[in-house]
């Protein structure tokens, strides 16, 4: 098994699926000749040809709608948004067409929307957002957000093979920073199944995406101080593996919910509500959330750091919950 980056894992998963299934096509801006803004599809044009690797005009709604139509006809398009922020331009096709098609007609639409998302590298207001909650509110969409190279590849393969529209949010700040051993062969990480990334008995941290790494770092630090955190990586937000975090919270009696997206209306609110409804008896402390401040992503380092949930903020909140 080779050690590869999160970015290469995505690339590998996509390339393998294109080799296995000629119905898989990719489309997006600058993905063919240039290999993508982040180089996820480098070399794809040469290998698969222009019919399957399509440079689109700058028209997110247009190529998203086209991908949806092609998907109904049996292709398995994987759409790359250059930055997840611009998925806003395709919002209508995703929430009003893709999400509702099967419910309305019983006709499957196997399409994947890849959104390079997340901040932490000074991208400013339009290259840093985490738009998952825009989509978890919409029935009929699956939403996944991998944190590790292994999950990134396995969830992408699962998303491509799924017969439903899947929003696949890959965190840009993990692309080249996070590496691990990833099997070269075929495997999937099933959509809708969370994973306990670290076991512990004193506090459950429910998280996903980039914040899994921050949460694991906090767990190590707290471990040295004598408290053991269990870190539950949701991996999929929709469908949601409720049992995974409820089981953990019933064991630890304390829950901290962490994500990089904004606090208000963020997915963490849903997780907190489920815990309050279904594990109230088990709680020894209020369910607490750590998330980005409710302001747009600012550019300057001092401002972005102040806005994002950092390891320090998670640590402080975790201590508060543990000491409640």
């Amino acid at each position: 098994m080779a050690v590869i980056t999160y970015l290469d894992a995505i690339s590998q998963g996509l390339r393998d699926e294109m080799r296995r299934d000629e119905n898989v096509i990719v489309l997006g801006e600058d993905i063919a000749v240039f290999g993508g803004a982040f180089k996820v599809t480098r070399g794809f044009l040469e290998e698969f040809g222009a019919d399957r690797v399509i440079d689109t005009p700058i028209s997110e709604s247009g190529f998203t709608g086209a991908a949806c139509g092609a998907a109904v006809e049996g292709l398995r398009p994987v759409v790359e948004f250059q930055f997840a922020d611009f998925i806003a331009c395709a919002f209508d096709q995703i929430v009003n067409y893709a999400a509702k098609n099967y419910y309305r007609w019983g006709i499957p639409m196997p399409v994947v929307f890849r959104g390079p998302s997340g901040g932490g590298f000074r991208g400013g207001p339009y290259h840093s957002q985490n738009p998952e909650a825009w989509f978890t509110h919409v029935p009929g969409l699956k939403v996944v957000q991998p944190a590790t190279p292994y999950d990134a590849k396995g969830l992408l393969v699962a998303a491509i093979r799924d017969n439903n529209p899947v929003i696949y949010l890959e965190h840009k700040h993990l692309y080249r920073r996070i590496k691990e051993e990833v099997p070269e062969d075929d495997y999937v990480v099933p959509i809708g199944v969370a994973e306990v990334k670290r076991e512990g008995s004193d506090l459950t941290i429910v998280t996903y995406g980039a914040m899994v790494h921050e949460s694991l770092a906090v767990a190590e630090r707290l471990s040295r101080e004598g408290a053991e955190c269990e870190v539950v990586d949701l991996r999929s937000l929709s469908p949601l593996d409720r049992d995974a975090f409820l089981t953990s919270v019933r064991k630890t009696g304390r829950a901290l919910v962490v994500h990089e997206a904004h606090l208000t209306g963020g997915f963490g609110g849903e997780v907190a509500a489920i815990i309050a409804e279904q594990a109230f008896d088990a709680l020894d402390a209020p369910v607490t959330r750590v998330a980005a401040l409710d302001v747009p992503s600012p550019f300057a380092a001092q401002l972005e750091d102040a806005m994002l949930p950092t390891e320090e903020k998670i640590y402080t909140a975790a201590r508060d919950v543990l000491e409640y």
Partner: protein, 344 residues
């Protein structure tokens, strides 16, 4: 609104008050098309009545006055071609084998496939039985990108099939119209766009919707051929649409045809059309597509008044039967509401 000079309602070069085919057409074909248009008209009138009786709830949208366009265009399609309609395509469905009883049952919110009460009777997607592709009719023009996507799939698989996207005039203003046609034109996809310009988008006239006189005037932006024609003459519709379909099927890319027409009912039956000039209504009533076709068939078409009336009566009876069947269908069970959210 002041009554305008009738000549200004339509380019005189397009206008006519009687119709005839250029060359002889098989009698059975003529009867099939007429029956289809008549069935759609009768069905629509019945839907309006059911709405006024409170049996159809919400709103109801009819296609009265536009039947020649979808009938003519769909009559040219091959069985494996796809099309999608917006709100004015009932006759096109019927020509493709959709049954009035199913349409009425859907309008009544009954538990019939494929939507089982989840969607208005106005919309239908059924690829398997009728080649009607699922489209996102919620937001105007969204079907142009998806139509391009179906056409892309045909092209990638090297299949000589076409996708026909019917669209209203108002739906040519949203960005999706531009984005979808732009993409289709770049890749020379077999997408035929049939614009049914019925003078209004809800209450808003063409002049407040676009800075050009014809939708077709927008085609140069996509470097695709476009034509303007009279949409209430089924023979003219077929003549022009054939050029478009042949062009797309041959791999030459998209083609746009704009048919001038008029909806003689409101946007929906809740709409009293107070914004429509009386002269304009009269102008188009004289050019009603069913009336023009009927006059031809009863006369030079050789069916005679009795022959045509027999078809009219047959349509009326079959719609009555369809309503009875539809009303007897069960409503969906409430507990099915969460079913079929995701495909297996």
């Amino acid at each position: 609104m002041a009554t305008e000079n009738p000549a200004s309602f339509l380019d005189p070069a397009l206008d006519r008050t009687s119709i005839a085919p250029e060359s002889a057409i098989d009698r059975d074909q003529l009867v099939t098309w007429y029956r289809t248009m008549c069935l759609a008209r009768t069905c629509d009138e019945k839907l309006g009545a059911l709405y006024r009786q409170g049996k159809i709830v919400g709103a109801v949208y009819l296609a009265v006055g536009q039947e020649a366009i979808c009938t003519g265009v769909v009559s040219l399609l091959q069985p494996d071609d796809y099309f999608s309609t917006v709100a004015r395509g009932l006759a096109g469905w019927f020509l493709r084998g959709v049954e009035p009883k199913h349409v009425i049952a859907r309008w009544l919110g009954r538990d019939v496939p494929p939507s089982h009460g989840r969607e208005l009777g106005l919309f239908l997607a059924d690829i398997e039985h009728h080649g009607i592709a699922p489209y996102h009719n919620g937001s105007m023009a969204s079907w142009i990108p998806s139509g391009a996507g179906f056409a892309l799939a045909f092209k990638v698989r090297k299949q000589p099939r076409v996708y026909v996207a019917f669209t209203g005039d108002g739906a040519t203003s949203p960005g999706d119209f531009y984005e979808g046609l732009n993409f289709a034109a770049i890749h020379k996809l077999p997408l035929v766009v049939i614009v049914e310009n019925n003078c209004f988008a809800y209450s808003t006239g063409n002049a407040a919707q676009m800075p050009v006189e014809n939708v077709a005037d927008r085609a140069p932006a996509f470097n695709i051929p476009a034509e303007v024609a009279f949409g209430n003459d089924i023979f003219e519709v077929r003549r022009v649409a054939k050029r478009a379909i042949d062009h797309a099927r041959a791999g030459n890319g998209p083609y746009l045809v704009e048919f001038k027409t008029f909806r003689t009912r409101g946007h929906g039956e809740h709409d009293d059309m107070g914004y429509v000039d009386a002269g304009l209504r009269e102008f188009w009533e004289r050019r009603d597509p069913l009336r023009l076709f009927r006059e031809y068939l009863a006369g030079a078409g050789g069916l005679g008044e009795a022959g045509v009336k027999a078809i009219d009566d047959e349509c009326a009876a079959s719609i009555e039967d369809a309503v009875a069947w539809a009303e007897a269908q069960p409503a969906p069970a409430p507990e099915t509401v969460t079913d079929r959210l995701f495909a297996p």
